[in-house]
Symmetry: none
Subunit: 219 residues, 4 copies
């Protein structure tokens, strides 16, 4: 059907607009202009602006999950390596290629200020992802570690990964130009977060001892 193509085209046009302006400030007129369709198309294909928004949010996380899939591990992979790979995927989703895509910005809007679209997002996207992180941590933590502690550690890791996206602009203002690469290059950043987290778990040397080899000025 042609209708599905049109719906997708509209979602792809709506995504960046909603991401930048938010739901209320985005206008269907601009979205339609970007998509090259008539304003009445929104009503025809989605009913109203709100349902377009929800569909666009869904489309966003489907696209992003496809662009940067979570890693799969062969049996026997060391948990340290798993955690490192997981953090790498998460950081890459946040600030990796393509740099700062609208999908992430839109999802972060939902995280910061959830709307009706958020519930589904949590169930089909955030909760499974967090579950995978917890299962990796299970292999690294003593059996007696209580559940809430495991989650706290998980949120600490996720918080670090998100921070460079959430506060990216402020970080860029605070650090000098020549250090930007160290802070926004996904691999270096992921290594730092993995080092710090593993060190905190007693599964590696203190974080600062990795400094030299991670220093981007040496590469």
């Amino acid at each position: 059907m042609v209708a599905d193509e049109t719906r997708t085209r509209i979602c792809e046009a709506a995504g960046p607009v909603f991401a930048e302006k938010g739901f209320r400030s985005a206008t269907v007129r601009e979205i339609c202009r970007q998509a090259g369709v008539n304003v009445a198309s929104i009503n025809y294909h989605f009913g109203d602006k709100e349902r377009l928004y929800i569909e666009t949010v869904k489309y966003a996380h489907e696209q992003r999950a496809q662009q940067v899939p979570l890693p799969e591990f062969p049996v026997g992979t060391a948990p340290e390596q798993k955690l490192r790979a997981f953090i790498h995927a998460l950081v890459t989703r946040m600030i990796g290629v393509p740099r700062s895509p609208w999908e992430v910005q839109l999802l972060l809007r939902e995280v910061l200020q959830p709307t009706g679209a958020c519930k589904e997002l949590v169930e089909s996207y955030f909760r499974p992802m967090f579950g995978r992180l917890l299962s990796i941590l299970d292999e690294l933590l003593p059996a007696e570690t209580p559940d809430f502690k495991r989650k706290q550690i998980g949120f600490s890791i996720v918080g670090q990964c998100l921070h460079y996206r959430v506060a990216g602009e402020v970080v860029a203002m605070i650090v000098p130009e020549d250090e930007h690469k160290a802070h926004f290059e996904p691999s270096h950043l992921a290594d730092h977060i993995a080092d710090l987290s593993l060190a905190a778990l007693g599964a590696g040397p203190p974080v600062q001892s990795f400094s030299e080899e991670a220093n981007p000025s040496h590469t």
Copy 2:
């Protein structure tokens, strides 16, 4: 002067509205209704909506810095204790009493998506605060730790502190009801982040060994 009182009253009314709706979606009519003044007052006192917004953002961080000041330390205080106190203050600013104030929400909006009001915010608020964190870390890190590494560690700590505010609603959806207290009680949360960070720096035992004493079910 009466004029200043009116300006303050308008800012106090505008704050929660801007915080909840964002700049564009907030309406001067609602703000004026909340403030009990005429719509024309905005233009009379502030020129236009945008200048009102900037003034409100300034007012917000002044208020918040006053409500939860950063701690001062007597000479000779152990750096571990300083870091713990600093983290506690930061977490409290984020999610402490009063719970989730509009000031924080408004500032986070600026962080996530800076406007013209952000630059000043960074210089007079975020940079000094981050500088104090770095100076505490200086006492905990070997002298040879490079600058970018110190900042990375700083951002890791800040990221953890912000995460419960940024993603608070999603966290609340993911964790079961009976664990909420463990995740949203500022003191417990601050202790967790401090433990994890100090452990990562080699200045404390691995984070999970603190589990028992921090478990809120034991209090």
Copy 3:
């Protein structure tokens, strides 16, 4: 032909909608939804909305004339009886079974505010009916009664018959609940109008003397 069935189905769906909303406020979408056909069907079968309206009006009066035909009289029927029967038929068309059908409402719209569909309505429907009323009155009035007077009397009779339909809702608000039956039961109403009209023509006793026998509370 299948096409004719579809046209009829559309008219039957359009009738109530036009009757309730009027031409401009009725939407082809609602009509098509009620008829279970595609929106494009209107233009396919009728050309445009206006032609559908005209066809629906025609269809309405054909249906209504068929539902409640004017009475036929054997030679020698007394003119008083003819008038009574005529009034009964007219009142029944207005408010009789089925109560307040859409056909009547639609025709009244045309009467109150004629559109292009009205001319034909007058010629093929109202004028012949009025002519039959005049021919009955001819038998009751002196030969020298001028034409305009005959028509005035005719309109007085028609006016009474229409009033309970035209102003039915207001009448219902003005009279107490327990009198509704007296005012909206077609037979009683027709008797009243016939009594009054015949009395006015000197062909019966003053109207109020019929009161007792027409009182529905005695039946």
Copy 4:
């Protein structure tokens, strides 16, 4: 205040538009164009289109009641004369000077198809007027005439008076040009209705005997 003048100006512009097009088909744009004000004025002064409509209906009947007040009678006036005067006033309101004003058309819309504005109309306008008619009939009818019968007679009189306005256009199509004056000149029409009604009540000669003197061709 200037605001009240503006409200009145808008109502006066809205009246004819609502009267001709009905509530839904009338557009605020046209009303504002006619009133020479900005479209946003409707929202400012009335809230929305619906409240403008209700205000306009109220304004309409206030204006019309003022233009053609019901007659007052000195004590001792003959009831026949009262009825005649009452009918004259009613007919004049319907089709009198100015000919077919928008006020009447708008009120008739409410009668034919009541909206929220109708209830108040009935209480403050129709019911008192009908009450006065009933009190006149009381003087003409035997004491034993039951209530519902009095009302039926009242509605018969009102129905005749309204008919030339309700079905005016159809009447004009049915009667020849040269009789129009006889049917639409308020005085002649009122006389006819009064004659017929009084005759029906036994308070005058049969209606057709008045023919000659009421014939407009003799005036």
